[in-house]
């Protein structure tokens, strides 16, 4: 039996000798391209590594307690990020609640209440289109509507609202996914117990979807913290030696302060900018870690 099998195999190989050579060259080609694909993927990782190492080696020398607690200065050695750091926190205090309420509200409407008609389709399409609008165009909107028409001035409130609208699509989409992933059995059990729609939404759906919603919100906020262009448009200042006192105060944020330092000709200011970037990246890292932690902690329960 075995001999026969071998014979056939040998005959086959001899007959198709040309094809066999072809196979090995095709295999080599396959291996070669595999290397190429790995190389391309590795490129991104290397760039990320180089970027982080560059910024850390440039900025670590200027990073100190004084840097965190000083106002900006004309002399690089005295320059600090205090007013920008506090400004970022003020702006987030406006953006976070506004975008949370609007985003989650929209998601609940679309997932739980909206009838399946043209109008709902329009809202859904509108949200995905808004996600593709360049951030600087949101800045033009903020400048015209919030700063001028509503006379909020170049204030924390105008900046916070603009940012809330910018990240709204991200929050809506993330919250929709979270709400959609709540099992239908949970809702049906609630209805079966005689709960109304709002009671079911408020007591069953929202608590179950909350981890997903929170993760989406935190990720969206971390996008807002790093955004520069829209805030330049609404006129967040580049040189601020005071802290915002109320919601209508003028302010600056960390990315704008970093932009200001980057565009100065003196090289020392680039080191100061790098220190600011380290602080910004650490903030983003903390927020993302919290988001991942929430996701992992609550994922298994459903």
């Amino acid at each position: 039996m075995r001999a026969v099998g071998d014979e056939t195999a040998t005959g086959y190989t001899q007959g198709k000798g040309k094809n066999a050579a072809n196979i090995s060259s095709r295999e080599i080609k396959s291996k070669l391209f595999k290397g190429l694909f790995i190389g391309a993927t590795g490129f991104s990782l290397i760039v990320l590594l180089v970027l982080l190492i560059r910024i850390f080696t440039q900025g670590i020398g200027f990073l100190s307690w004084d840097f965190l607690t000083s106002f900006p200065s004309r002399r690089p050695a005295d320059a600090g990020i205090y007013s920008a750091f506090i400004g970022t926190i003020w702006m987030m205090a406006v953006t976070a609640p506004v975008s949370f309420v609007l985003g989650v509200g929209t998601a609940i409407y679309l997932e739980e209440y909206a009838p399946k008609n043209r109008f709902t389709g329009l809202i859904q399409m509108n949200i995905s289109n808004l996600a593709g609008v360049p951030s600087i165009v949101f800045g033009l909107l903020g400048l015209t509507i919030f700063v001028r028409e509503l006379s909020l001035g170049r204030s924390v409130l105008a900046g916070g609202f603009t940012m809330a609208l910018l990240i709204l699509p991200i929050i809506v989409v993330a919250s929709q996914e979270a709400i959609r992933s709540v099992p239908a059995e949970l809702k049906e059990a609630s209805y079966g117990m005689g709960a109304t729609k709002w009671q079911t939404t408020y007591r069953i759906v929202l608590p179950a979807a909350l981890p997903g919603i929170l993760t989406g919100n935190i990720l969206a906020l971390s996008r807002a913290i790093g955004e520069t262009a829209p805030l330049i448009m609404i006129g967040a200042l580049t040189y601020v030696a005071f802290l915002p006192e109320h919601l209508l105060s003028q302010f600056t944020v960390m990315p704008i302060q970093i932009f200001n330092w980057t565009s100065r000709p003196q090289e020392e200011f680039h080191f100061v900018a790098a220190s600011g970037i380290i602080l910004l990246l650490v903030m983003l890292l903390v927020m993302n870690s919290i988001a991942v932690w929430i996701r992992n902690k609550f994922q298994k329960r459903l």
Binding site: I38, S44, L51, V133, P134, L168, W198
Partner: protein, 312 residues
């Protein structure tokens, strides 16, 4: 005991009856509240479009539409100002083209690797790193372009000026690699496993399966990801503002300074153009052009991914 439980049930019923008005009220109110939230997103779009249209209209009362479209000079600060959008469009498209030259091959190759070659474990490790790359603020990329990529390129190309199109173009490309990679990978992962197995059974190598079976099957999603990436590159602001310079030109020289539409808007905002001047209104006309460009791109991407999608 029986008595007590009866008592509490009747109490519950009583409470329930007294709350019924409240429940009914909330039941009627909440849909309206949520609808209002949803309408804000529509209002945002309407606000953007109306703002751009009205202020662009003000701009065109002072500048001829023909001049805006046909003139090849953009000198808003000149004594005899000229407003031709072409230099800004040239700068924008040049940056986008360089970015795509980087992002398409590397992004697509990464997508093929992740979808066709990588083990689950590798994928779980690589994807979060790509997400980190996508989450880095653009101002950080701008800083990187100006203080690292430009000096690096100056060593290779001696005539490169500090502000140029090449360096921000490359860095914008790096920024959108994760977007191309993850959207293309999604499209390729959606190709059913049975098609791959069929090709393997016919004696295909892994590379042939990836390029001759999976790639064509996922093509609509992949092309849509390219178009979305172009749209993203066109709208990118901080990298080009920091590293691209402010020299509106129709020249295609990648080694000298350029100005994109976004960089011009930032330049005017940072300057002291007073409210109501032609220069002030010009940012809306440029913003309108930018908005139309990205909207068209997004709609094209949408159509490609919907119309030409193969359904298995």
């Amino acid at each position: 005991m029986n008595n007590r439980s009866n008592h509490s049930i009747s109490k519950m019923i009583e409470e329930k009856a007294s709350n019924r008005g409240m429940t009914k009220f909330a039941e009627g109110l909440m849909p309206k509240v949520f609808l209002t939230c949803a309408l804000i997103s529509i209002l945002t779009t309407v606000g953007i479009v109306l703002t751009l249209i009205f202020e662009t209209f003000s701009f065109f009362q002072e500048v001829q539409v023909a001049e805006f479209i046909t003139s090849s000079d953009w000198y808003p600060l000149h004594g005899d100002p000229s407003y031709g959008i072409r230099p800004l469009i040239t700068g924008t498209l040049m940056i986008a083209a360089i970015a795509m030259l980087i992002a398409i091959p590397i992004g697509l190759a990464s997508a093929i690797f992740l979808s066709e070659y990588a083990s689950d474990k590798t994928r779980r490790m690589v994807k979060p790193i790509l997400e980190v790359l996508a989450g880095i603020p653009t101002i950080v990329y701008g800083f990187f372009a100006l203080t690292f990529v430009t000096p690096l390129l100056q060593n290779i190309i001696p005539g490169l000026s500090i502000y140029n199109a090449l360096s921000p173009g490359i860095v914008v490309g790096i920024m959108i690699i994760p977007m191309v990679a993850s959207l293309s990978e999604d499209a390729m992962s959606a190709v059913p496993q049975s098609m791959r197995e069929g090709a393997f059974a016919l004696g295909s190598t892994r590379f042939e399966v990836a390029v001759k079976v999976v790639l064509p099957a996922a093509l609509s999603g992949i092309i849509a990801s390219f178009v979305l990436a172009v749209s993203r590159a066109i709208g990118e602001t901080m990298i080009v503002t920091v590293a691209g310079g402010s020299n509106p030109t129709t020249s295609m020289d990648v080694t000298s300074a350029v100005q994109t539409m976004t960089a011009y808007i930032v330049q005017v905002t940072l300057g002291d153009a007073g409210y109501g001047t032609t220069e002030y209104y010009s940012i809306y006309a440029v913003g309108m052009t930018l908005f139309i460009f990205t909207l068209v791109m997004n709609v094209i991407a949408h159509i490609i991914s919907k119309r030409f999608r193969e359904v298995y």
